[in-house]
Amino acid sequence: MKKRIIALLLSLVMTVGLAACGSNSDNGGTSSTGNSGTGTEDAIVTEDGAAADEGTTSEGGNTLTVWCWDPAFNIAAMEAAEAVYQKENPDFELNIVETPWEDVQKKLTTAATSGDLSTLPDIMLMQDNAFQKNTISYPDAFVDLSGSAIDFSNFGESKVAYSVVNGANYGVPFDNGTCIGCYRIDLLEQAGLTVDDFTDITWSQYIENGKKVLDATGKPLLSMIAGESDLICEMLQSAGASMFNEDGSANLVGNSTMEEIMEIYVELVNAGVLVEVNDWTEYTESITKGSVAGTINGCWILATIQTLEDESGNWGITNMPRLEKVAGATNYSNNGGSSWAVTSNCENTDLAFDFLAKTFAGSVELYETILPSTGAMATYLPAGDSDVYAEPQEFFGSEAIYAKITDYSEKVPSNITGVYYYEARDAVATAVTNAVGGSDIAKEIQTAEDTLNFNMGK
């Protein structure tokens, strides 16, 4: 008897396990009708997933399949867009498949390299940083949107630039990664400072202020993940500089902006104004546990800050510091963000174009709906004029921060991400890590450029 019970329990565990695996890989594009099925059914559906795939994309001519990843954010936005579009087209339906970005990238790579695009959805959300890489690596996998009714001039110029390849638009800009500086007002007060002391400043002023805060509170102003070059890239873009030249060649050695940035970064670490942490969790904890007095990042970091309900009114938002020595330096930059791309597997491109044109690229109403619920900052400029954006936010000292950030986003200089963006980021991150360790900056930049050139096959 005992053995039987154990056997039963074990098989139960296995079935559940299978179901879990099944529903994960199920995301591949099998229809979401699987949701209602039991675990075992799901697993079976996955096995003949390929057959089911073809059904989803062309089904009825009124359904579009979409891949995106965050239920609280881009999925919610897509659902809102579906509702907006359904007002005009009641038959319209979206099949939204929750697919983490890493999976989107792997599935895209697999589909495009095998030449079988039928597993792709109609529309997918793509990280801006990976946009150039994917569209240039797999030109056959995406549809040129230039001929559609979408008006790209309604988006911030630097944002659109991420998804433009050889003059053709491949993406509809979605969320905003405009950089903001966020500061704990109470900690600044202890050092005799206010948020105004951090507005329109240079990095050397930032370091000065940071030292004061460190003396008064013992807390650094900023935390960053070691081995990631987020801050470096933000600083580069704030001066309109890039890690690449127009022709795609590496632009690290002799890039005076890069040298200045490296110097500033090393100084930030040495002065104790910037503390390096090891991963994303440590980074967010340093903010939520209050071990730093602020942060600088894309405005999506607001979601993290706003989880601190008892600190309402204690945070202030302003722009980021600017570089000093280089021409064209501004206080505005960008980090992250994503855009919608239409894949070549989409049979009803007219529907997809029309859907995007009337929602993400044409509906202020959509952005008004999703802002309060998801905090999704639009890059669609007309939405910035909306009343919802102008509402004061109690959490941030009753300031209309959304209108403020939309205003910042228009001023962000455009730069070149290039195909080899991730290679460049890693090479630069290695250089920065070594430079912080005391190595010569010029030598490290040279090594980074060599590594990058090697990766580019030169």
């Binding site: 790579t109 390299t113 240039i136 690596s137 071990s291 290695t430 590594t451």
Partner: protein
């Protein structure tokens, strides 16, 4: 009926055997060997994404000029040379202790030591990461004990990050190897030890003169498996340190993953690097078999 009679019993049995084998063999052929051959062909091609063309052995030449790959090769061998011997010796000691006749609660100890193997690679890597974080448990204890003044960033320094990966690997895999040794020890007759005792052999003599020689096949097996596993190390590098600081802990498999999925996909180059790992595994296994096999 006539036909059936002509098949001898022996023949029929062997046919049945082959019939059972065929299905498995076919599956292995299609699922394993075909992709291996395809990957081998792929390793002679270069190009971005789907646009690949044959370029001969350029990929194989390229990897020896690749600074990051060479670094990952060095890192992997660093883990290999330090971790495998420590782990196997520990496993051997634990196994012979747990094989003792007079030990109580044997089952409990065995389970405890084997338990780490049941944890997922990703989750134990994350646990180790939080243990050694700047505000993690280890730092807390060291500060409380007065050994450290301020938190030491274990994962932020190359030397300590490597050591943590090695500690993590030892924690995860010692029990696994111990189980092999235990099963090997069960096959050694107790009378052999008894005879040795009567002849006046001490614990150490028993261990070095009886246990180790009789366990030789098992030791060989675990060595080959551990070397093989370490050369393909991936999860720890990705999850514990993310290859950092400054590629100080990146492993070959992690770099291959980056080349395939994080960077502009270079599948030809990635396939070529994978074949280098295959060659390394094969060569090392061959050497170990030659060294370990004492039959003449």
């Amino acid at each position: 009926m006539k036909k059936k009679k002509r098949i001898t019993l022996h023949r029929r049995e062997s046919l049945t055997g082959w019939a059972f084998l065929t299905s498995a063999a076919l599956l292995i052929l299609i699922m394993s060997f075909v992709p291996i051959i395809k990957a081998f062909i792929l390793s002679f091609k270069t190009g971005i994404g789907a646009n690949m063309e044959y370029t001969g052995i350029t990929n194989y030449v390229r990897m020896f000029q690749d600074g990051v790959f060479m670094q990952s090769l060095k890192n992997t061998f660093f883990y290999l040379i330090i971790q495998v011997p420590i782990m196997l010796i520990l496993a051997l000691i634990l196994a012979s202790m747990l094989n003792g006749r007079n030990l109580r609660l044997k089952g409990l100890f065995r389970t405890c030591i084997f338990l780490p193997c049941a944890t997922s690679l990703v989750s134990y890597a994350i646990v180790f990461k939080s243990l050694f974080a700047s505000d993690g448990l280890v730092n807390l204890i060291l500060i409380k004990l007065g050994i450290l003044d301020t938190a030491y960033n274990f994962l932020g320094n190359v030397g300590s990050a490597r050591i943590i990966i090695i500690i993590a690997l030892i924690w995860r895999w010692t029990g696994y190897n111990m189980v092999f040794y235990l099963s090997g020890l069960q096959n050694i007759e107790y009378s052999v030890y008894e005879a040795a005792k009567i002849d006046g052999a001490g614990v150490f003599q028993q261990f070095f003169r009886i246990t180790i020689p009789l366990l030789r096949p098992t030791i060989l097996l675990t060595t080959i498996m551990s070397v093989n596993g370490t050369l393909q190390l991936f999860d720890e590098s990705v999850n514990l340190t993310n290859g950092g600081p400054a590629n100080g802990t990146i492993t070959m498999s992690h770099y291959i993953y980056n080349v395939s999925f994080k960077y502009v996909p270079g599948f030809g180059y990635a396939a070529a690097m994978s074949f280098l790992i295959l060659v390394l595994v094969a060569v090392l296994a061959f050497v170990q078999m030659k060294v370990g096999d004492k039959r003449d």
